[in-house]
């Protein structure tokens, strides 16, 4: 089957032409497409086109055991996989009535925040590259690698860890691990002034980002935007604070807010979140040695584990926004239904189409990266 219509019409529409952003385009995030209709360099209409990364996760999960799915979920968002594991584990724990030991909760928070830093560093690189600045990408990804090294030491996997399992975490921290986490944090903190010099105070970037893709708070609420993109419009909503899970209510952190709602504000919010994540991690590193105890609640034989009938909706704050799992059990050993609410699903389709319309062609990539859309979350 040929996917598109090859029939000619008698008169091609004049004064407007089409450009395909993606699926293979340096200005697109991942394998995702945006069809853009242009007049000169001004976008008159845009249409998102997803499904290139569709793997049918929700169907696959219905065919696998509760515990097997843990290996599947991190693949839903590649740059920021830990929230996926945690959110799914939280859902199973809620369904099965498991009490997660405190130490495991702290370790999970540490993982979540490390993953958030890694995801933000990744995004900064891509965002800077859309304005032609490649050094932040080279630096950011190299620094992110240090965090991946920490993950690797902990779980054996650089990108996909499969470390959080229902009931807790797979194994305890290696010896001296917290020291190495602390060192990495020091290093990343020492790099922040460099990033400021390179990107956040760089007029090339500031001017390209200011006033681009403006979203008001009303629009953001209307479109269901969450996460840094919502906070960049001035609403301090963060699932970690307002619907706390794990031990986030015992931690001190701020919810950074910007008012402007443009690409620059969104970038600044991520920049401030990086600092908050570092602050959370410092607290975790300081408190974790004091908290002893098991790292995993005892669970029944995972290969024959029937969860009771019920449903649960769990939410966590991923680096992209509100990530939620709706899990339904019919009392069997496999999920009856898992619905993944990827945060990008909102801002990578509707919002992107809206913000891009009326923008100029060179700002399209900038808008897409400043929204930090994660296509695999949309396609699942």
């Amino acid at each position: 089957m040929r996917p598109e219509n090859y029939q000619a019409v008698s008169h091609p529409p004049s004064h407007e032409y089409e450009v395909f952003f993606g699926p293979n385009h340096p200005g697109i995030e991942g394998n995702y497409a945006l069809k853009v209709r242009l007049h000169g360099d001004e976008v008159t209409a845009a249409r998102a086109d997803g499904g290139y990364l569709h793997r049918g996760f929700e169907k696959l999960m219905e065919g696998r055991l509760w515990i097997q799915n843990i290996a599947l979920v991190p693949r839903i968002c590649v740059p920021d996989p830990v929230p996926m594991e945690v959110c799914y584990s939280l859902a199973i724990e809620a369904l099965g009535g498991l009490e997660v030991p405190e130490r495991a909760q702290w370790i999970r928070v540490m993982q979540l925040e490390l993953s958030r830093i890694a995801a933000h560093l990744f995004t900064f690189g891509g965002n800077a590259a859309t304005t032609g600045m490649y050094t932040p990408m080279f630096w950011g990804i190299a620094d992110r690698d240090l965090i991946l090294d920490l993950f690797e030491e902990l779980s054996g996997g650089r990108v996909y860890h499969i470390y959080n399992i229902p009931g807790g975490v797979r194994r305890d921290l290696p010896e001296g691990y917290l020291k190495r986490v602390s060192d990495t944090l020091d290093y990343i903190e020492s790099r922040l002034p460099d990033y400021d010099n390179l990107m956040f105070t760089n007029q090339v970037f500031v001017r390209r980002a200011t006033g681009v893709g403006i979203m008001t708070q009303e629009q953001a609420l209307d479109w269901g935007v969450t996460g840094p993109n919502l906070r960049a419009t001035g609403l301090p909503f963060d699932v970690r604070r307002d619907d706390p899970y794990l031990i986030y209510d015992q931690l001190e952190f701020d919810v950074p807010v910007e008012e402007a709602g443009d690409a620059w504000a969104r970038t600044l919010v991520r920049r401030a979140e990086l600092k908050q994540s570092l602050r959370i991690l410092r607290q975790v590193v300081a408190r974790l040695p004091e908290i002893d105890g098991p790292i995993r609640a005892p669970i029944p034989n995972p290969l024959a584990w029937n969860l009771p009938l019920g449903d649960v909706y769990t939410r966590v704050e991923s680096s992209k926004g509100e990530l939620a799992y709706y899990v339904v059990s019919n009392g069997g050993d496999k999920p009856w239904r898992v619905h993944v609410r990827g945060p990008s699903a909102m801002h990578a389709v509707q919002v992107l189409e809206h913000l891009v319309t009326g923008a100029r062609i060179e700002d399209v990539a900038q808008i897409m990266f400043s929204l930090d859309a994660c296509p695999p979350e949309v396609d699942r």
Binding site: M1, H54, L221, G224, L235, D242, D249
Partner: protein, 198 residues
């Protein structure tokens, strides 16, 4: 109100009091900030309108669809969140599976457009009044809506791609020593089928 606090007595009572205005509801607090509401399908728009207008439920977190083929029903779950009350209301409705048609809530919540389109693609439900029911993810898929329970993805894959034999030398060696795969994949699938019906 401090946001990290669990909803106090006042929030709970406010919400419970408010929800008395809609008939036919069954409410249940499943967790401190999770209120489950079961209601007949026809009263859902009234409930959402009430929540949005009177309790600040401006955020539609998700619409989930669950297929219950044994009951002949689809369950639709509307997860809404109030930035003021910090309580998630999950409104459960059931609609008959056969025509599989329901009303769109796009005029109340814009994000509904995405979820309704997604459910239409994956389950084949039709939402009347939704702005765009065109395909988004499965644009080049011609089979049945894949998330329906009667669609057996694995069988489809077997038919389309066939099972690929994988017997490297080392496996043969192990098997010669008496080890190896104890259950063939066909057997495994057969077992699963029995379990599923049980």
């Amino acid at each position: 109100m401090t946001p990290t606090d669990a909803p106090g007595h006042d929030v709970t009572t406010t919400l419970d009091f408010l929800l008395q205005e809609v008939d036919g509801l069954r409410t249940r607090w499943v967790a401190p900030r999770r209120l489950r509401v079961d209601l007949p399908a026809e009263t859902l728009p009234a409930l959402l309108e009430l929540l949005k207008g009177r309790a600040g439920y401006v955020h539609l977190s998700a619409i989930s669809c669950v297929d219950w083929p044994d009951d002949g029903q689809f369950e639709l779950v509307y997860h809404t969140w109030s930035y003021e009350l910090n309580v998630l209301v999950m409104a459960h409705i059931r609609i008959p599976r056969d025509p599989g048609v329901y009303l769109s809530i796009y005029d109340l919540y814009r994000p509904a457009a995405f979820f309704e389109r997604d459910i239409h693609e994956m389950f084949g439900l039709w939402f009347e009044g939704s702005p765009d029911m065109g395909k988004f993810i499965l644009t080049e898929w011609e089979g049945p809506p894949p998330m329906r329970k009667e669609f057996d993805g694995e069988a489809w894959v077997m038919e389309q791609f066939g099972w690929q034999e994988y017997r490297p030398e080392w496996l043969t060696e192990i098997e010669a020593k008496g080890g190896g795969i104890s259950k063939r994949p066909e057997q495994l699938r057969g077992d699963k089928g029995e379990d599923g019906t049980a």
